[in-house]
């Protein structure tokens, strides 16, 4: 019991993921600054932002909104992100083997932050927030099918094992999944799904600052917004770690393996950041067509290739 609490709150859970996610958020902003020939923020900037919002700023509750739902939505989003990160990191760091079928549980838990953003935005009673919530809903509908197809393809590729630990271990003796043709195709699909899940630029129409002024999060201020920021940091670490577990045979924490683990995480975040910095925001109809037609097509081609053994 005490051990489970430790897992949940300290080591692979909340504290570790929050600190690492904050540092990754700094990495993301620094790379963005370098791409634009700027100097960029200091190292601890994400933590300054978080503590300022949590401790200093006033939390305003909109007069026409639903008070309890509005304030509970960020708490639940943080809860969902933390639980999914625990379930991903326990098998990934080799602490526990997880249970059969935990990939499916992780898939559902990873949608909780998006769902709570939608609920919180609709509870705020702001018209811009409801526009943002409707866009987020359409985005969830479009990318979840592609993400599920990627998971199905990987389950087929690892001889029908539906636990994350078995999927990591199926890659150990031979090459990693990313070394095959179908693996590369699935990796491309998964990276675009991550981009949409994290709400980064080609798919950030739900919180477009310039047209609907932060959309879903427009009414959040103070500590409620701090929790949303923290959820974003955690997701920025959890989702690349999930991709590493699925495609790059996980990580190994012995000796030089730590360096490789850090480099793998940084490489995946670097790809996300570069896509974010070199693309304009697309319309919601373009995003839906992109996922429904092209990404699903690629995922199905990869599944067919897996059946032929590539």
């Amino acid at each position: 019991m005490l051990k489970d609490l430790f897992y949940y709150l300290i080591y692979p859970g909340f504290l570790f993921v929050a600190v690492a996610g904050g540092l990754l958020s700094f990495f993301d902003r620094k790379i963005t600054a370098w791409v634009q020939f700027r100097k960029g923020p200091p190292l601890l900037q994400p933590f300054y932002d978080f503590f300022k919002l949590l401790l200093v700023k006033e939390t305003i509750i909109p007069a026409k909104g639903s008070r309890i739902t509005f304030l509970l939505a960020p708490v639940f989003s943080l809860f969902g992100a933390t639980v999914s990160s625990v379930l991903i990191f326990l098998p990934l760091l080799g602490i526990k083997t997880g249970f059969t079928g935990d990939v499916i549980v992780i898939f559902y838990l990873l949608t909780i932050p998006s769902l709570t953003y939608i609920i919180g935005a609709l509870a705020s009673g702001n018209p811009f927030a409801s526009v943002g919530a409707s866009r987020e809903m359409k985005l969830v509908v479009s990318y979840e099918l592609s993400f599920l197809l990627v998971l199905i393809a990987l389950i087929i590729k690892s001889d029908m094992s539906i636990s994350l630990y078995d999927i990591i271990n199926a890659q150990q003796p031979a090459n990693a999944f990313i070394g095959s043709i179908s693996g590369v195709i699935l990796f491309i699909v998964a990276i675009f799904c991550l981009q949409a899940k994290l709400g980064l630029v080609p798919f950030d129409m739900a919180e477009a600052e310039t047209e609907i002024t932060h959309g879903s999060f427009i009414e959040y201020s103070g500590s409620a917004y701090a929790l949303i920021k923290l959820t974003k940091y955690i997701m920025l670490f959890t989702l690349p770690a999930f991709i590493i577990a699925l495609f790059m045979r996980g990580i190994n924490l012995e000796g030089i393996g730590i360096l490789w683990a850090i480099l793998k995480v940084l490489a995946v975040v670097l790809i996300l950041t570069l896509i974010r910095n070199t693309n304009p925001r697309v319309r919601i109809s373009q995003a839906m067509r992109f996922f429904f037609v092209w990404m699903n097509l690629l995922a199905i081609i990869a599944i067919v290739l897996i059946f032929f053994g590539y």
Binding site: G40, P42, Y48, K52, H214
Partner: protein, 158 residues
């Protein structure tokens, strides 16, 4: 630039311990991470462009931890420029009341500080400090980006 300005320009926060001891945790975090919200009154757009200039690679206020936000609910600093006329006044008051409360108001440009050439116009509703409390004035028509940065740094090392 004085000595304390040097602390804020330092990208890697070598002096952060000193600052931290002097200010306390909450104040330190607040000063290291300011989100800017831009309110343009009846401006001639010159000050708007100079404010946007501060965000460009040449001046880059993100190295002080500042970023421009779209919603006033996230803002820590309200940048007000342009002359405030009778139509703008209720809007400025509403924006100020909507902001979460430790908020710094900065009046930018001659029109924001005093009214400038519009001070005797018949639709003019007073300079910004007659409507809401102002923490810093940055005069100029328009002020240079260097002047805006120097004003912000002075405000932070107050």
């Amino acid at each position: 630039m004085d000595e304390s300005a040097g602390y804020y320009c330092d990208c890697f926060d070598i002096f952060w311990v000193l600052k931290f001891k002097k200010l306390g945790f909450k104040e330190f975090c607040f000063k290291k991470s300011l989100f800017l919200f831009h309110f343009g009154g009846a401006s001639c757009n010159n000050c708007d462009i100079e404010i946007l200039d501060c965000l460009t690679p040449r001046y880059d206020v993100e190295r002080f931890g500042m970023q421009l936000v779209g919603s006033v609910r996230h803002a820590d600093v309200l940048l007000v420029n342009g002359s405030i006329n009778k139509k703008d006044k209720p809007r400025l008051l509403e924006i100020y009341n909507q902001a979460p409360k430790p908020i710094i108001v900065v009046a930018i440009g001659a029109c924001g500080c005093t009214g400038g050439i519009f001070a005797e116009g018949n639709t003019f509703a007073g300079p910004v400090d007659k409507i809401i409390p102002v923490d810093a004035y940055i005069p100029g028509c328009p002020p240079k980006p260097e002047a805006i940065l120097a004003g912000i740094v002075k405000l932070l090392s107050k």
